[in-house]
């Protein structure tokens, strides 16, 4: 199973502009449950792009019918880039994974990807938001170097707000110093 379960409603606004009109009162979040929620509320997650024509050396015919991004055997199923403490360098071990995502994105020009940076919980929330952004930016730049169009990517940060591991340990901190690759149709 994929490590990251997103609600199917995930609506990407890749080029939101500055302002919108005033909208009414106290909001109940319109976007439903967060990353740890249960099954998607619509079929969108399973009706994503069919996995034909994917540029990837590990592909074989048996996967063509499914979504290669969901195939545990495919590097496309790998979504997380972990970083060392106080580091924003994408380590070499992530190169095959990022090459696979770059290939997928270049073969599907309508596909959109959001790069979500995260940080551990120590220190200022806003500074951690900026640290998470730096990690997302590092992955965005790596994909850009591999040929992915800027228009297909958005780097954002969750800072320390959505920890994958909520424990107060060094191990948990390391798990949260991370950037995730999430597709717009997921």
């Amino acid at each position: 199973m994929n490590k990251i379960v997103w609600p199917a409603l995930l609506a990407l606004t890749l080029s939101a502009c500055g302002t919108t009109g005033s909208t009414p009162a106290t909001v109940e979040s319109r976007t439903g449950d967060g990353a740890t929620s249960g099954p998607a509320t619509s079929g969108t997650e399973t009706t994503g792009v069919a996995g034909t024509g994917v540029a990837g050396s590990a592909m074989d015919g048996s996967q063509a019918a499914g979504d290669p991004r969901k195939d545990p055997a495919s590097p496309l199923s790998k979504r997380s880039v972990h970083f060392d403490f106080d580091s924003f360098v994408v380590k070499d071990e992530y190169r095959p994974m990022l090459e696979a995502h770059a290939g997928y994105l270049m073969s599907k020009r309508d596909a959109r990807v959001i790069l979500q940076g995260n940080a551990d919980e120590r220190g200022s929330r806003e500074y951690n938001l900026a640290l998470g952004q730096k990690r997302a930016e590092a992955v965005r730049k790596a994909l850009a170097v591999l040929g992915v169009s800027e228009a297909q990517m958005e780097a954002i940060s969750f800072g320390e707000e959505k920890p994958r591991n909520e424990a107060d340990t060094e191990e948990a901190y390391a798990e949260n110093r991370r950037a995730d690759v999430v597709y717009g149709d997921e």
Binding site: A16, G123, E126
Partner: protein, 428 residues
């Protein structure tokens, strides 16, 4: 232990406020604890006001005494065992002087037709045996707390010469389970009202200078976006929803512009924008992190956090742009600056030996001193009268809010049981 370090602990009973409308969810009241205090406290007796039938609880005098006690400027003189005067003519000054009181507050509550109350109070100088102040209020039931805070403000200002901040408000984010609520409460943490409710994180609230609006960052659209919301009708608009992350909003003193941090051009950089989302202008330049901007009281400068020197430190830049100048020099992690209303002090979070504490930085001398003894402090902001700093910290595994006086000697705890409170901001 010297007298000046007399420990007072005030605990609010867990009353439910009957004045709250039905639209507000039931909640437990916050507790307040005061630990330590200033060296030269003013000894004051707050005599329980003669009560009226049907008056709200807690007693008005309890709220006034808690306000004064939390400031650390007063030693509370117990009023039991003596006749409880209502009018100045009934005061036996020798008795109160004998109890050590230098000042005293007396008064009464009278029920009026239509559920209203008349509140009369007098502040007396026990040494000179004169009246310092006297006021009468006619109030509705819902103005009970506001009136108590106003009385505390008058007492505070008359006796210390500094304007009180008890009638001001705070904002904070409460996390309960997976639910986030942005709340606005009285400065003592009481009377909380939820203004935003979300299943996604909310951070970085800040009141507009006139207190009519609040700006904050919401993750409800799966990325950080800056919203401005009216506190009177709840109407809101997106101020910054550009590609990438939008965060760290800070009002300019004119209430028309704000500073925000955007990543639309790559790195986290500071921009100026009008409160209606128009007039975007980039302020800082470079590929490093520039974040947590805050305007100086005159609006001419912006203090912010940057890692341009290799570690996060506080910098200052003219609001018109130019080359930033480094402000913090000691330590390898100084973040989240906030500036006092008179511009004399910065407070920020400093990490030393793995502990994150609130520190006070005097601008003129550059001297820095640690104000707190907790290890996970975040998000400092000054009281509108500049006499205390509100901050978040962690105690017993949960987020709590606290205030600390500028000498570090008086710390009060505002917290509600069973929830996680964070991201506080002190407003007007």
């Amino acid at each position: 232990m010297p007298d000046s370090f007399l420990r007072t602990v005030l605990l609010f009973p867990l009353f439910l406020l009957s004045v709250l409308g039905a639209s507000f969810a039931a909640h437990a009241e916050m507790e307040i604890q005061v630990i330590g205090g200033a060296a030269n406290k003013i000894a004051i007796a707050v005599v329980p006001f003669q009560a009226a039938p049907g008056q709200p609880t807690p007693a008005l005098t309890q709220i006034v005494a808690d306000d004064l006690g939390r400031s650390g400027q007063f030693a509370m003189v117990a009023s039991g065992g003596a006749p409880q005067p209502v009018e100045p003519a009934q005061v036996d000054y020798a008795v109160w002087r004998g109890k050590g009181a230098e000042a005293m507050v007396i008064g009464q509550v009278v029920a009026l037709p239509g559920g209203r109350f008349e509140i009369r109070f007098r502040l007396l100088d026990v040494v000179k045996r004169t009246q310092i102040a006297g006021f009468s209020y006619t109030i509705a039931r819902g103005q009970w707390r506001a009136t108590a805070h106003q009385i505390a403000d008058i007492v505070y200002e008359k006796l210390t010469g500094v304007k009180g901040a008890f009638s001001s408000r705070i904002a904070y984010v409460q996390k309960q389970g997976r639910r986030f609520e942005l709340r606005v409460a009285d400065a003592d943490g009481q009377n909380p009202r939820t203004v935003v409710r979300s299943l996604e994180p909310l951070i970085s609230p800040m009141f507009s200078p006139d207190g009519a609006r609040i700006v904050y960052v919401s993750f409800e659209d799966k990325k950080p976006i800056v919203y401005v919301q009216s506190l009177s009708d709840g109407g809101r608009r997106k101020v910054a929803a550009f590609k990438g992350s939008n965060s760290a909003p800070a009002w300019a003193p004119d209430g028309k512009r704000m500073a925000v941090v955007l990543t639309r051009d790559g790195a986290s950089q500071i921009y100026l924008i009008n409160a209606d989302g128009s007039g975007l202008k980039r302020l800082t330049q470079g590929g490093n992190i520039d974040t947590e901007p805050v305007f100086s009281p005159d609006g001419q400068a912006i203090y912010f956090t940057s890692d341009r020197g290799g570690s996060p430190q506080i910098y200052r830049v003219a609001a018109s742009g130019g080359e930033p100048r480094r402000v913090s020099f000691s330590g390898s992690y100084n973040v989240s600056p906030t500036i006092s209303p008179d511009g004399r002090y910065l407070a920020y979070i400093s990490r030393e030996d793995g502990r994150f504490s609130v520190v006070l930085h005097e601008m003129a001398s550059g001297q820095v001193r640690v104000l707190t003894d907790t290890a996970r402090d975040e998000s400092p902001s000054f009281a509108p009268n500049g006499q205390a700093v509100l901050y978040a910290t962690v105690q017993g595994g949960r987020g709590i809010l606290g205030t600390v006086s500028l000498d570090g000697k008086t710390r009060a705890r505002l917290s509600e049981s069973g929830v996680d409170a964070r991201e506080p901001a002190w407003g007007p």
